[in-house]
Amino acid sequence: MRVPGLGRLFRWRHVRPLLQAPLLIVSVVMILHGLFGPTLAPKNLATTLSWIHFRGVLVLVLLCAGNFFCLACPFMLVRQAARRIFKPRFDWPRPLRNKWLSVALFVLILFTYELFDLWSSPWWTAWLILAYFITVLVVDGFFKHASFCKFVCPIGQFNFVASTLSPFEVKVRDQEVCTKCHTLDCIRGRREPVSDLVTIRGCELALFQPRKVGNMDCTFCMDCVHACPHDNVGILSRLPGTELLTDPIRSGIGYFSRRKDLAALVIVFTFGALLNAFGMVSPVYAVERWLGAMLDMRHEAPVLGVIFTFFLIVEPVLLLGLAAWFTRAWAGNQRGLLPLMVRYTYSLVPMGFGMWLAHYGFHFLTGLYTVIPVTQSALASLGWPVLGEPRWSLTGLPAHVVLVVEIGFLALGLAGSLAVSYSLAEEDAPRKPMPAFIPWATVSLILWAASMWLMFQPMEMRATMMSG
């Protein structure tokens, strides 16, 4: 926030709509092109921008900066406009004030992505974006605050988990200033003195800045930055992943180690990264055929269901359960198996993020320039060829160059996971951390080896998985 120009921009009250508006325009273009444009995915802006560019830019921005996508989220611009007409009246139901619903939606998105081959269907992709807009309007039309962001949005949950490894965080500059503050505008909102009307919103995600730790649940909406009368909240740099190294009580979240729903989210984030990549390499089709024949199933959905159950439930429970059992046995840790599993699950975040980076980074970098001919073609089909004839030869970086980058991301992920698990083991057993560290380091190594194996598999993209 002290960077000349940039700091002033982020302190400006209307920075969010300014960043959201271009993304809203792009979203509308994607929906229209997806519904009415070419049916071939490589020639359509909906599929090209969603599955190549948006995902790639998202993970790279999370790695290099922070949760800036949530800041520029176009869905929230529409919500904000709708809230001028419809004021939400209800509080989000208490039993749903956790991550279970969003975990289920995250799994559902991964599942439908494979089942309906969303990457190959502009029409389905356009409807997915539209469905997102409609869901935002319905949820935040009825429920107060940022219920959709905190409890529903699967993209948001992905961003929250990944941004624990980002180098920037929205936090207070000087705790002393907060100690003397009595108005608490960062959470209550800045109010008019007489009417008590909120003029600048406080945090809608219930994160009280002085007690906020890290990026979990933070959408970088800048509300607290703008509301603070002392200019004491900003986007500050930090060592990536530091919030995973310890387990303090966090405002709006509580203790990580007591949040089974958050641990489940991390499991889906980490194992889902491998599963999502597994869905696009040749061996998955052999597994599907074998499973289909063994279980006598001809439809893809139940076979996919078996694969998802194995990768997102059976495998994590086995791996993490065994690691927790060994931690208890070797380190003499008195905690139960489940609390131990929950506590150390967060050490897998870097490995999972490394895999998402490697996967999405691959598509983004190898298809970097494909947006150019697709845009040229879209404009030409409208009878407005201002960008010239489509140059279909434009693709991206060579795959062998990108492979090195992928290996780098995976190595970073492994190093991060080892560092986090060692730090947690050190907190549990300061004198002899190794017995607690080794089981979790082994889990990270297994995941890293599986990720490396996946990276070297031949890619195979089919519109239907069980064909052939």
Binding site: L40, A41, T48, W119, S120, T395, M459, M461
Partner: protein, 158 residues
């Protein structure tokens, strides 16, 4: 055979039936008349703007992919163009465009050569395993353009 007994009644007969049943036929209001007129005009306008019947629809296009089943690497696509009325089509210009089913990949283009009367052959390369879509662009000897699309599914890795 057309059965006269179930032939629908003419308007005149229908009107008399209404009269017989004690209901009078009311003339259409001016607004409705205008609306009908507008609807007719719109229908005429849009049908007038639509393309004439495409004679190229009658042209049959058959294709073969070699090797079969297709594998990654070089492949040969042979296309046979025929007109049911005039037999095989010779002297056409055919180009092929192969696209993967997923975005982020560049299409592969190839010019087809006429190897026998009405048979056109193109050499291209499937870079990745999976499903491919082939777009065939043909310019017929008379200058008429024709486009066809066919799938090459399940290209296996080598």
């Amino acid at each position: 055979m057309f059965d006269r007994r179930v032939r629908p009644q003419g308007t005149r007969n229908m009107a008399s039936t209404f009269r017989q049943s004690g209901r009078s036929v009311r003339p259409l209001s001016k607004e409705r008349q205008r609306f009908l007129l507008l609807a007719c005009a719109a229908t005429l306008f849009f049908t007038a703007c639509s393309r004439p019947a495409d004679s190229s629809r009658n042209i049959t296009v058959e294709h073969e992919v070699s090797p079969e089943p297709a594998r990654t690497g070089p492949a040969v696509i042979t296309v046979r163009l025929a007109d049911p009325a005039a037999g095989v089509i010779t002297g056409a210009r055919a180009t092929l465009e192969a696209d993967m089913s997923d975005p982020g990949m560049a299409p592969v283009f190839a010019e087809a050569r006429e190897i026998k009367p009405g048979r056109y052959q193109a050499h291209l390369r499937f870079e990745m395993a999976g499903d491919w879509v082939i777009l065939l662009h043909v310019t017929l000897p008379g200058g008429q353009k024709l486009e066809r699309q066919f799938d090459v599914r399940d290209v296996r890795p080598n």
